[in-house]
Amino acid sequence: MKKIILSLLMCLGFVAGAAASEGGIQWDKFPQEKVSDVASLQNGAKLFVNYCLNCHSASFMRYNRMRDLDLSEDQIKKNLLFATDRVGDVMKTSIDPKQAKDWFGTTPPDLSVIARSRSGGGGTGADYLYTYLRSYYRDSSKPTGWDNRAFPNVAMPHVLWELQGQREALPEVEVKDPHNEGKTIHQWAGYGPLVGGTMKPGEFDSNVGDLVAYMVWMSEPAQATRVRIGVWVLLFMGLFIVFAWRLNAVYWKEVK
């Protein structure tokens, strides 16, 4: 009887392996420590305001919440306020969503909670965004002239191209199809060399990391507070458990 149950339970192993994989590539790991680095977050805020707000809104994010990033209201007003005059406003974009849909084929999504919404089997939403923003390459067959390995046929162009530089894809190579005898498939052969770009690859990766860190922070500004308070709560609960346990023991000694 035990053997039958065991073998049935082991069948689960086969089922688990049958999970489907999605389009796109494996995601790189986002450097998580950047989310607790204020300098990173401030740089990310700067990049976000300069490069993203032109088309994307972050309509749940208030400018003055950036005081949590050790920025004064004055600093926010002077350096980060382009689309509005009031520091208590939310980060709306100035692009007309209808025109954006005309130009790009789809309205650029709001980025307030983008880092939470893109999590999946491949990793966290931050992993995805970090990979996505560094996976662009030139493709003249696409309407924008760009394609992206993490999001094939994406409607968004490479906004950070001036920082990273341009690169094309090497011609795909034909290899044997592992699933079909006698057939071949086209396989990705890697990126070509980077041309231009004001940042070196390491510097660019670090800046993209800052930008993604900012988006992670923006998707849940209360996160740092939550974790900090949580530690204290759990310490208190630990103490409480000890007292509740001993109180219970004292009363139950009487029960025969």
Binding site: L8, R116, A222, R226, W252
Partner: protein
């Protein structure tokens, strides 16, 4: 006024106050009957904390729900933004929101474990059938409450999950489309649906839930609690009239439950503060995208606590209907040829079986399409609903000689283990996209689930039962 209890003039203020109240409202008597002097078995174990925890989580949900309702806007254009407003701009709003979302999942974990305790110790057996039935009604209401609550954030998964499930009701013959229209308030899930789900989630279903919980507890206190040995403690009373194996709930179970509650709250806090999304199972990633009626997600799955039943729904294909038809024939033949029933009863069985046979699969196997039965989609809904409804009948399905698993034949434990294992497997598969292997395993799981219950009148009697002790097994705490 003559029956008023009098207290001396120099009695403490508290005593005077309580006497004033007790003369007009049975406050002290209620306290004593329901908790203070309610004698419960002294051998409660770990499995007996989940009833109190369920009540605690209900209170948590109601209180956090009240505060959420102060800021939430039940309008399709405003709902998603109002939730983010709560998360960012309302002081401590993020904490209230996370407590409510974690509480919803915690409610189901607690209730599933609470029900499993009932299964283990025969808590649904006579004289506690009504306690069990109220409990099953609570479970149904809880599922409705959770389903409607999930639409409120108006995310992609909220919208499309509601769309899928409400469309299932359209599969009911004759009244289906009108029924779905009535539920939705519109031809697709829309602002109208959101408004009425809000009303049901905030007031209609909670009122019914509270009423059912009160009925559940009154029914329990009327007959007294069961215990892990499954013996009736009221059968052996002491000189004071109290059960020998009973202890007053206060202070013993007050402090015992405080201990259990504190452990639960520690785990609950760990999730709320450190992992509120819980890997995308408590707060789904997809739900951070505002609902878009024009964009269907690649993979629509219900929240984790519905996945076992969702598996059974998906498992009910046209092919599966043939299996059900075969099952009906086998059961009818077994009842007629081997059962100890009168001849009239047997004829009724045969006719009923034939009717069910035709209704379920039609005469599809003849190849005449006009003779096909009702769509498999409808039967999937019936199976999904039936999986919950079958629970109501448990008191009459269990023909075991003893109440508790402790005194059943040892191999019964393996039957329960297989049942639990497959329930978990069904749950896992319900969250995955459909696959050939997954479908087969779901179908086997569905048959095992229903076999466990529907064949229980037969298998629960089999085997060597162990002698049930006279007094409860209790190890004194030192």
């Amino acid at each position: 006024m003559a029956e008023f209890k009098q207290v001396p003039a120099d009695a403490p203020l508290g005593v005077k106050l309580m006497t004033w109240v007790d003369n007009r409202f049975p406050a002290t008597q209620l306290w004593n009957d329901q908790w203070g002097k309610y004698y419960a078995p002294k051998n409660f174990n770990f499995w007996y904390i989940f009833g109190s925890l369920a009540m605690l989580v209900l209170v948590i949900q109601i209180v956090t729900g009240i505060f959420l309702t102060m800021h939430y806007k039940p309008d399709a254009a405003l709902a998603f933004a109002s939730v983010e407003y709560i998360m960012r701009d309302v002081p401590w709003g993020w904490l209230i929101r996370y407590m409510h979302s974690t509480g919803a999942s915690a409610f189901f974990i607690v209730v599933y474990l609470h029900m499993f305790r009932g299964l283990l110790y025969g808590s649904y057996r006579k004289p506690r059938e009504l306690v069990w039935i109220f409990g099953c009604a609570i479970f149904l209401c809880l599922m409705a409450e959770a389903f409607m609550g999930y639409l409120l954030p108006w995310g992609q998964m909220s919208y499309w999950g509601a769309q899928v499930i409400v469309n299932l009701f359209a599969a009911v013959p004759f009244v289906g489309p009108d029924l779905a229209l009535l539920i939705r308030g519109d031809y697709v899930v829309s602002d109208a649906t959101l408004n009425r789900f809000f009303s049901f989630h905030v007031i209609a279903v909670p009122l019914v839930l509270l009423g059912l919980v009160v009925a559940h507890l009154i029914a329990l206190h009327e007959v007294g609690s069961n215990n892990p040995d499954g013996i009736e403690i009221k059968e052996k009373r002491g000189a004071d009239g109290h059960p020998l194996d009973g202890i007053p709930s206060h202070p013993y179970y007050t402090v015992h439950d405080i201990f259990g509650v504190v452990i639960f709250l520690a785990i609950f806090s760990a999730v709320v503060f450190l992992a509120p999304e819980f890997g995308g199972y408590f707060l789904e990633y997809n739900n951070f995208i505002p609902a878009d009626p024009l964009k269907t997600p690649a993979h629509i799955a219900p929240v984790w606590y519905f996945t076992p039943y969702y598996s059974m729904l998906r498992a009910t294909t046209d092919e599966m209907l043939y299996v059900f038809q075969a099952g009906v024939v086998i059961v009818a033949l077994a009842a007629i040829l081997k059962g100890r029933f009168g001849s009239v009863t047997k004829i009724v069985f045969a006719v009923a079986a034939a009717a069910v046979f035709v209704a379920v699969g039609g005469l599809k196997f003849t190849g005449v399409s006009a003779l096909a039965g009702i769509d498999a989609k409808f039967w999937g809904v019936v199976v999904m609903g039936g999986a919950v409804v079958v629970l109501f009948f448990l008191p009459w399905l269990d023909h075991s000689k003893v109440k508790s698993i402790r005194y059943r034949p040892s191999w019964h434990k393996y039957v329960y283990l297989v049942f639990v294992a497959f329930f978990l497997v069904l749950g896992y598969l319900g969250a995955q996209p459909p696959s050939d292997v997954g479908n087969r395993v779901s179908q086997i799981g569905t048959l095992i689930y229903f076999g466990f219950f529907l064949l229980m009148p037969w298998w629960s009697q089999l085997g060597e039962f162990k002698p049930v002790p006279e007094r409860v097994t209790f190890k004194a705490h030192h």
